[in-house]
Every structure is written in structure tokens, then in C-alpha cells.
Amino acid sequence: MKRGFLLALLLFAALYVVAEATRERPKSDGVVRLRWATDANPARTRQTALFAQKIPGLAVTVDPGLGNDQTKLIVQCATGTGPDIIDLYDEQQMSSLIEAGVLVDLTPYAKTMGFGPDRTFPAVQGALGRGGRQYRFPCNVWANCVVYNKAVFDDHGVPYPKPGWTWDEFVATAKRIRDTSSKSGQTHLPVANWLNLWFYQDPLIGRGGRYFTPDGLVSLADSPESIAAMRFYHDLMHVHKVVPTPAEAAAMSSQGGWGSQGINWFSSGKAAMIVIGRWYIVQVPNYPNLKGKLGAVVLPRVPGRPSSGVTGTRAAGINVKSPRRAEALRFLQYLADPDYGRLIVQDGDALPPNPNLARSGQDLANEIIPDPAFHQPFVDAMKTARPADVSAFIDSGLAARWLQERIEKVENRLLTPEAAMRSLAAEINAQIRLNLERRPDLQRRYEQVTGRRYTPDWWRNYQAQRWAGF
């Protein structure tokens, strides 16, 4: 027995020696290496290589996380060992990290170093910070369009969608795909659902709706626009039956979750349309059958209003505890550089941060999809798109989680859209009142935004004003 353990320990020691001996050590070449918390996207290899090439003496290595799961970031930042540069996928995530004191206020550096909000699309400028302070700069920018597979439309003899179409026409088109037999004999899914949130968010913004009142004190989840948007998503699934329900999706799926399945279905030529950003095309080389068959059109509109939907940005902020802040700022400067933007255009990873590189479809044409007509709708979408608004009075991640829970209940018919959105508004508003009661900093913010002294019964006064036409 002793011998067995001794042999095992010797084997372990030998493996240890091999592991350490074959490990590549950082070169002592004087190069400062930054850590960038982002996803393990192969495009990062080219982006980091270009950074090292453009700024001698600096290099950046990717520290991959688990998509939107923040656990790694939270654990590392809580122990003061977080990455130098942090990719923030939405405003909610940014707000949470600002609250936690993790992000550097970039305002003093941004203008002089050339990565101020004015260096990117006007639609996302407000989403780069909070309270007039800037906390991040875009790595890329996106707005949704409807991407469609021309081969599927041709197979069913259905004309391609045209700009200016309405959501009713979207439903009618989807129904025609569903109801018309194809020449090939194959059946196709009319609409592949990738992110269920967008089927609520895009029609909400298209109707001119908001999540919160402009001062952030009251949830507008129960507003007519919001309820109509949720009702629309419900009807797509359960009345018009053009989007699969979660149960149908699970039955059709051979692999795992519903989330990525919509993209896979569309990419495999099994679906006619998908609501998605230009970043989708980074996957197109993986599916040679899609070559030359993709079209894109701006989101449908609500009658009487222009086409509009949600926009967002994957944007980089800097860890307040980074010992290499000056070098990390150079990285943000690099993100505003046209050479970096051109890389984004070539890879198709959404839109470049610099709007001058995306003024037309011609600017965005690349090897993946050389047809400028495909890219033009994404340029047009950025003109009217708006980011989802957040409130300073509630943790945005919490509000987003509650919204997601309601969406799932509506999908599964556990709640009507009306009941779901009313209960959501009630829950968020109760939390805002609780937060204000507990936190003096929020009470001060209340006084700033309302110009009135905070009192524990502010809610009643506020309601009275709201009904008086706030």
C-alpha cells in the first residue's frame, strides 16, 4: 500500500515537473500585458494582435468569462484581482458595476484621449455612462433587423419583406411561410426566436414605450405600450402560431437550451426569418449553404410611427483597481481607432464603434456578405434605435431578471400579458420604494431629480402628480 502511494506521488511529481517545464513563461521583454475580460470569441485574436502591433510595449490577453454570467468577474473584483478591462454587455450590467464601485469614471480622460461619447453612434451615447459621467466605450454597436433566408422565401413563393413594413405585415408574411407548401416539400419555421426579450423590447420601443419614467422613479411596465408589446409577443406564439412555444422548441430541439437553438435553426436553413443584429454574420462562414442567400430588412413598424427597435453596445470599461490604468486607457483609445473599426467591419462583429466607418451598406460590405444591400438596413436601424432605459433607483439586473421571469410565464401561458406586466410594475415599484427608504444616497438622488425634499410618503404625492399629467 505504501509503495502504491509512493508510486502515485512520484507520478504526480513527474507530471508536475513536465507541466511546469513545458509552460510558456511571460517574456521579460518589457511589454505591459493587460487582461481583457470578454468572451472567448476567435475574433479577439486578431483584435489583440492589432493592438500589440499598433501600440508597441503594450499587449492584451483575453480572460474569458461565461457569457453574461458575472460570477467570475464578481469574485475577482471582490478580491482585488479583477481584469484591467471589462466588457459590459448592456446598460444593466454597467449600472450594477457602477453601484459596486468597480468601474473607473472615464470622463476626465475620454475627451483628451479621443474616446468620448461623441466618437460613437448618437443612439448609444447615453448608454455609455450614468449621471453625465462616462464609464465605458463601445467595442461594437448593434441594432436589430429582420434577417431572412431568400432560399426559404423562394421555396414558398413568398415575396421578400420590404422596408416600411408593419408588424401586421410581418405576421402575415410569417403566416404565408407557415401555410404555403414549399416546392422542395420541406416545412420551415416562419420565425426563429433567438432572444425572447427582443420580441417584447423591439415592439415596445417601436411603440415609443419605455421601461421607466424619465426620472427613473416609476416602472412603466404596466403602460399601454408595454402591455401591447407583451401581448404582441404572446400572440405571435399562441394566436398566430408563427414562433414556436418553449414546449414546441424543446420538442424540435436535439440539443439543449432554447437560447441558441433559434440561431442554429436559422443557420441550418430551417427557418425563414430571425430578428437579430449584424453580429450574426460572424457565424455565416460556418454555414456555407447560406452563402448568397441572406437578406436583411429594418424592423417592422407600428402604423403611424417609424421603424424603431432596441440598440445596444458591448463596451469596455476599466477596473478601478487595475494597477495598469494608464495602459488600459490606451486600449479604449484603440477601440476608437479606425483600424480597429475596420477589423469589426471585416469580421462582421456588429457595427464598428466609429460611425464614420458605417455610413452606408457599401462601407460595411465584406468578404462574408459582399452585397451592400444586406448591410444597409443595419445602418438605417441605428438612426432610429434607442437603448433600453434603466433606473438609478433599482438594481438593473434585478429588474431585468423579473422581466425575464414574466416573459417566460407569458410564453408558458401561466400569466396573461396584462397580469404579467401589472405584477412586474408593482414588484419593481415596491422595490424602488424600499430602496429609497433604506438608502440615503438614493434619497439625495430623488431630491436631485425631482427638485423636492424626500419624504417617506413621496409615493403618494408622486402618484397624484403622475395622474395629473406627469
Binding site: M1, K2, F5, A8, L9, L11, F12, L15, Y16, V18, A19, E20, R23, E24, R35, D39, A40, N41, P42, A43, T45, T61, D63, P64, G65, L66, T71, K72, V75, Q76, A78, T79, G80, T81, P83, M252, S253, S254, Q255, S260, Q261, I263, N264, W265, S267, S268, G269, K270, W279, V282, Q283, P285, N286, Y287, P288, N289, D349
Partner: protein, 293 residues
Amino acid sequence: MTVIAPAAGARVRRRGVPWLRLIVLCVVGLSVSLPFVWMVSASFKPRREVDEVRIVPRDPTTRNYPVVLNRLPDPGTNKKLDLRFGRWYFNSVFVAVGVTVLQVLTSAMAAYAFARMRWPGRDTVFLLYLATMMIPGVVTMIPNFQIMVSLGFLNTYHGLIVPAAFSAFGTFLLRQFLLSIPPALDEAATIDGASHATIFWDVVMPLARPGLVALAIITFLGTYQSFFWPLILLNEDQLYPMSVGLLALDSTYGRQTELIMAASVMNVVPLIVIFAVFQKFLVKGLQLGGVKG
């Protein structure tokens, strides 16, 4: 007659039961093995087929394996994937071996102290030790990580190995096992002048072999598949185990399911071999360890 009739009925039931049991076991066995069968099947499918529910590929290909191993370019992009598959494989095996050896050793020593030695407060300490198993891992994640930071273990192999080298579960499992070994053996050895070290190595450990092997298998399997701790502890891809390295195939460039499955098939081979060779010990060890309280 009244005596024989029930006996005949019992014989009929006995005949029927094995068939029923077989059917139930087949259904359970099939449902358990189906994901594995699907994984193997998907690893031989081209990308366009991977979403299809059918198990047998229409157009089977072995190309996914050399693509993962960086021998061939990805057919979609015509570029090699730049994965460090060999290194990740080695890391997974190396860390799992290290953790297994150390955890079995430390658990056996602790179990000996709790099962075979008498000292004041022994049972209370054991209960406290056991109570650590009730704390969810998420709660201890930040303190554990802080300890790694203080020790300078970030981005190191020992950061993966040392925290996992001690286990309350392993101690509990082996203590239960050691309690089933007659104490008279220790007493006889003590009368012969044996020290605790001698009793531990020459008397108790040989008799505890099934329990040690069971713990070794459980530990190896658990460590080999561990994901979250390596993910948060490591920042260099050359140190990743396979579980973390495979994230590169699931990015905004798309989920390359057929490649993930090819990598997963290669990844689970050591686990299957170990389980197949040692399953006899695993079952025996768990059974014996679970009997005596």
C-alpha cells in the same frame, strides 16, 4: 392443496418479475445512455446535420476530430481553430491525478484519526468537519478565492490542486469504511508494539483498499470534470483544463456543436476507462462505507 397453490403462484410471480425488471432496466438504461449516444453521433455529423434529431448521421464524417486536434482547418472558415487541445487534455489529467492522490491520502489520514484513535472532542470535531459539507460552494467561493490570492496561487497549477486536496466528504466516506474494520486488529498490532503509523500503513490501509479506490474514482471523476473553479482562477489558456478550454467553441462565432461533441468524446475516454476498470471497487467501497454508522 391450499399449501401448494400459493407456492405455485409465487413461482409464477418469480418468473414474471425478471422480465419486468429487465424491461424497466432497459428503459432506464436507454434513457441514461441516450445523451452519450447522441454525443458520439453528433461528433460524426457535419455541421448542417447536427441539429437533426436522428441518431445515425446521413453523411457521417470523421473530420471533426482532426479539426479539434488542429490537424485540419475548420471546413466553414477554412482556418485552423488554434485550440490547445493536447495541453488542455494533459492539464485535465494531471490536475485530476494530483488532486486524487493528495485527497485520498489526506482523507485516509483524517479518517484514521476519526475512526481509530480516541481523543477528547473527537466526535464533536468530526461533526463540525462534516458540517462544512452543508455550506453551499457559492458561499465559500470568495473567501476561498481570497485565500488563493493571499497565497499567490492565482494562475497556477497548485491553485487548482491544493484546495481540492482536502475533502470532508472523502474523510466521511473513509471513516465509515474504517469503522467496519474490526478494532481487534489494531489492538493486536499495538500489543506487538506497532505505532499509529505502522497500524495505519500496514494494518488499516490494506484492508481499506475498496474504500480508497472508490474515493479515488469519485475524486478523479469530479476533478476531471470541474469547471467553475478553474474558470475563475485561471487567466492563461495554457493552464486551462479541457472543460474551460472548450468554451472557445461556444462563442458569438456560434456554437460549433459537432466540434464540442468530438472534443467531449475524446475528453470522456479516460473517465470511461477508469470507471470500467474500477467499477467493482466503486460499488463495493460505497456499499461497505455506507453500512456502518
